[in-house]
Structure formats: C-alpha cells, structure tokens
Symmetry: C2
Subunit: 206 residues, 2 copies
C-alpha cells in the first residue's frame, strides 16, 4: 500500500477523533471528504480496501470507523517510542500532547549532553546516550524518533537498527540509509513548505 | 496535481541537493528511485510531467534537474515566512538550518508572551502578537507557520488569512478551517508514527 494511502487513513482518523470528541456519532463519506479535501469516491475507495464499514445512505458510525482505522494502522495497541536527541525539537516532542491516547508513548529520551541527564521533561527522563541500547532492551521499544544534528544521524540510526529498532521517525536528515526491513518516515519541514509554494505559484499560473 | 506527487518532487529535490553537495553531476532515474524507494518508472513519469529533462542512457544532469524542480516548486525565489508561536517548537524552527538556500526565509516571529518580545533566536526577532498584521504588511510575507496551542489556532489562522497570508504550515491542530484559495499543509507527527506502526503490523501479517 502506498504511503499516500496510509497518510489519508491518518487524516480520516484525525478528523474522526475530532468528531467523536464533539459528540458526533455518524458521518458520511462526503462529509469526511470535505474535511480532508479529497474526493468522496476516494474516501469510499480507501475505506473499502479494508472491508465494508459504511451503510448506504447512513454513512459510517464514527466510533466503529475509529476502531477499524486504529486496527489497520496498528495503533489499537500502544507502541513504546524512544527519543534520540533532547534538543529544542526533542523537548517540544516530549511535551507534545498529541501522542496520548493515539497509540504512542515516549518511554525514554537520550542525549549526548551529560548535563541533561536526569532531567525530566513532559514526565520522561532524559538519560545519557550510552544507555541507548539498554533502554531499548528494557522497554522493548520498536520505534525511535531521531532529532539529532544531521552529522550524527547515520551513526545513531545504525546503533538503533543494531539494537533492534524497526521503525525510525527521522527529523534529522533527508539522507539516511537503513537496511531493508527497517522502516523510516522522514519529517521534511521544507517539503511541507514546498507544498505551499507549489500551490501559490500554481495559483498564479491558473 | 495530487499532494503525493508534489511530495515526491520534494524528495527528489532533497536527494539531488545531497548529490550536488557530494559533487555528483549525473544521476539516472533508477539511482534516484533507489534513494527514494519508489519505482524508476514512477520517477520518470513524475519528471516527464514537466517536460523532457533526461537523456536516454545518460540520465539527468543534477544541477539542471535541481533548477527545474525549484522552478516547478516555486522555490527559485525566496518566500518570506512569518512564524506564529515562539514556544519550544517555534524556537527549534527558528534555528532550523534546513531552510537556508531552499527558498524560505523566516523573517519574523510573534508570540503572545510579552516576556519573549525583543529576544532574537536564530537571527530572527520575536515580537509581540499585536504586531502580526503590521509585520505581514511590512514584510510582504505570504506564508505563515503556525506553532501555537490547538485552542488558539483557529483564531490566529483567521487573523493570518485576514492579513493576507495565502499559505499556512500548520503544526497546531488537525482541524483548522481556512477559506478556499488559502492553502494549508498540516504537519501531523502522529501520522508519521502511524506510517511506521502500519508498516510494522503489515510486516507481521506478511
């Protein structure tokens, strides 16, 4: 399945979580498509990939669809996540309220700066980088978030893979090599800005 | 053009910038596809959308392709960007080295906390929120980055649109309404983690 499809499933889930919090029980594919700005047919096609959830003319039961999407995305369970690099971005992530209840728990952070060791941020202890392998072993974390300077990223990614990490959320560098079988998602903030600049110049042309 | 295509163009551009920095002059679509982990046919199809850049059997001239992609993405010019919210994430963005030379310049930051006003972070002055409209007028910024608590996001988005901002990079909340014609890109960190959890559970099934 293409990344783009998985990304749309996340977008549906975010919107559904919002509807559920607002006490809304049913939603049509058309409504869902308007929130997300994709076609209603695309929504139905995406959701049909995983079975028949909607009822013709009545749409989807919000809590059921949330449940299905979480099962598809693998977040009906909670993943323990290790943060590598407790700089400013790392701190922001440790305090980020959006993980709770969505299947991800930051269980530890490491940083090469020993002065940070022992500090607690957002309820999570920062520990020295040397403890990385032991932390992964102890917590059974399978996912890591990498927020270190670009120059340190490849070495640390290698250590993470060596220690058994299977998925890396990479904020550090556009160019990171991981072996087949290890998954990587790259948060490229410049690329998000390029989405906007592309739309703005397309506007001008149109 | 779908967001997913624009996202791939950004990924090609990141890889090409890396190759250029390493002194590599030519690249084939197959090489490019391996770096990005998409099919070579997809790469050729994406690049053919915008004209004939490659030479059969020789591939692409790296600097030319960079130039073409920047023109397509609208980043051969520099976009002035205003940051709204100078919290920990905001600070990290002000110090982010990845914008320079890629067509985006953070020209100002605003924050509702007056104690931050006057501080300089990453060479950018933090100013009081009240100055927002004046800053946008003065700098001609068309893009804003929103890194405020979710509860404040919609009001501030409204102000940005009212002040003439045409593109919002939204870190704040999954649910933000902007009028047609205003473009929004949402950085959903949970969605990036869901990409990983999806792949990990798919691994288990396969």
């Amino acid at each position: 399945m293409p990344d783009a499809t998985v990304r749309r499933l996340s977008a549906y889930l975010r919107q559904l979580e919002h509807l559920a919090a607002a006490g809304i029980a049913q939603v049509s594919s058309r409504q869902l498509s308007e929130y997300i700005r994709v076609g209603a047919a695309q929504v139905r096609r995406d959701l049909a990939l995983f079975g028949q959830f909607g009822q013709p003319g009545r749409g989807y039961v919000v809590v059921n669809l949330i449940d299905h999407l979480r099962r598809i995305l693998g977040t009906q369970q909670t993943w323990r996540v290790v943060l590598v690099g407790a700089g400013q971005l790392g701190h922001a992530l440790l305090r980020y309220p959006g993980f709770a209840g969505r299947g991800f728990e930051l269980v530890a952070a490491v940083d090469c700066d020993h002065r940070k060791a022992g500090k607690r941020v957002g309820g999570v202890a920062i520990r020295p980088l040397e403890d990385l392998e032991e932390i992964i072993r102890h917590t059974d974390a399978r996912i890591a978030i990498l927020t270190v300077p670009a120059a340190a990223a490849q070495d640390l990614a290698n250590r993470l893979v060596e220690a058994g990490i299977e998925g890396i959320l990479n904020f550090a560098t556009p160019v990171l090599e991981v072996p087949q079988g290890v998954h990587m998602a790259h948060v490229d903030i410049t690329a998000h800005l390029e989405q906007l600049s592309f739309r703005l110049v397309s506007n001008n042309i149109a």
